[in-house]
Amino acid sequence: MTLLAVEDLRVDIAGVNAVGGVSFTVADGQRVGLIGESGSGKTLTALAVMGLLPDAARASGRVVYRGDDLLTMDEDALCRLRGDRIAMVFQEPMSALDPVVRVGDQVAEPRLIHRGESRDVAMRHAVALLGRLRLSDPVSIARAYPHQLSGGQRQRVLIASALACGPDLLLADEPTSALDVTVQAQVLDLLRGAVEATHAALLLITHDLAVVAATCQQVLVMYGGRIVERGPTRDVLARPRHPYTRGLVDAHPNVVGPRLARLPAIAGSVPPLGGFPDGCVFRDRCPRAIEQCVVEPVLTGRPRRRGETPTRAVACWNPVPDR
């Protein structure tokens, strides 16, 4: 059953387009990865879903969650959803926690808001949650202040806080990129374990292919505010069809694979907001660009059975041949 359906989502900031018509769906319990370099609009997409866009931003299109369009929902209704049914974990653990409030209170806060629990009951729940995230001595952690915890601990606190009410959709914006590699793996496992335990759906936003490969069933590749390719993770990473995805995969140092003298890089660099060419946004850097690329390609794919939306699709007039 589709939990979340995003249809032609557009986000403009002060008149400049940052997300140009993004559509995708997330099913119950499904773990979807949203890959893209910084500036691809992936964070804005997540914020649009949560309704937490910065003041200067305007969103249009539809974001349907269990039949309701979040974009048109009034703030109070959204507040009832956020933290209860839909939760989010942010990138910067250092600044995402209130420095003057104890960690326990911040984890317990969703319980206070949505379950109306007393402070003690919510606090006990929070300590349990922290324990489940394998934090040693959760009681003292709960009493501590954010500046007394390490980056990894803080990220786990944020995750605990997000999962406090057992949401059915968790958005995670680069949850581990600020952590060093060893801690990253731990936190990812916890995140995945927690999500699976509660049958929650996960929309994981990252620029790290390895993270997506290890965590997500479906993957969406974003560039210049658009989804350029979509499909099952293993399938897309093994046989990328869009030149940009191809470039991304090739640029990824495969520790196991053949040792290459020089990693291939994508030509040029990501243009600033509003600096993308018309038509296919990647065409100015695409080795396979053809003159049809001046027209914006549509995300297309062959459905396995008639009438079903295809799980595997690509938005390119001259995709990489399927070997």
């Binding site: 900031i13 002060a14 200067a56 907001l273």
Partner: protein
Amino acid sequence: MNRRRRVPPTLIAGAVVVALVVVAALVSLVWTPFDPRLADTASRLLGPGVEGHLLGTDQYGRDLLSVVLAGSQVIVIVGVLAVGIAAVLGIPLGALAAVRGGWVGELVMRGSDVMYAFPAVLMALMLSAAYGSSTTTAMVAIGIAYVPVFARVTRAASLQVLTRDYVLAARAYGRRSPYIVVRHVLPNISSVLIVQATVAFALAVLAEAALSYLGVGTQPPTPSWGRMLKDSQTFLDSAPRLALWPGLAIAAVVLGLNLLGDGLRDRYDPHAHIEGRP
């Protein structure tokens, strides 16, 4: 995201008002409709427009418009020099406290605390008792009283800059503290200091008015808006306009300076903390 780079309206409004005052000050040095110091007792308390006096005359028969125009000179002098003194003494102290830290920092900060015990008013009283009341004593008193403010702001802003990587890098290849302060710290906190200067200028104008009220500010026959406001009080029933014009002038200048400060702050450094002292 270049919206903020556009010059904010507050900056324009503030700059216009301040420019007007400076122009008035310069023009009045050379020309005013009448001699602002000529007290022609025969034509006392004339209404606006009478005998060519656009705004009328004051209780001593001086042309009100000329006196108000000439009054802007004191405002510019007191403002610029008072802020100058505060900056010239305060900024190095603040930078020193930030760079050296330790007991030097503590000494500077505690010293500035002690200075807070001497508000501009008290400083002016002492100086006027020693050297007679005049624009200079008022200016020096206000300047000294604001040294702690500049020291504190400079130190706070410098501490932020000192943690930045490019400073660590400079230190890495052996740059000595004074060079770092001049080359890296000051340029980067200049926006904060400019904003602080405009706020201090505005507060200096108000302080001069307060000192004139107590009789230790600018003395006759030099025209001063603060003193005019004070002297006009006893004429409130008979000639309220005597109080209107200097009051409006002071309000306009302070408003202009604050708008200028806000505009600069929005334009250059939106996150700067303004510190000022009443």
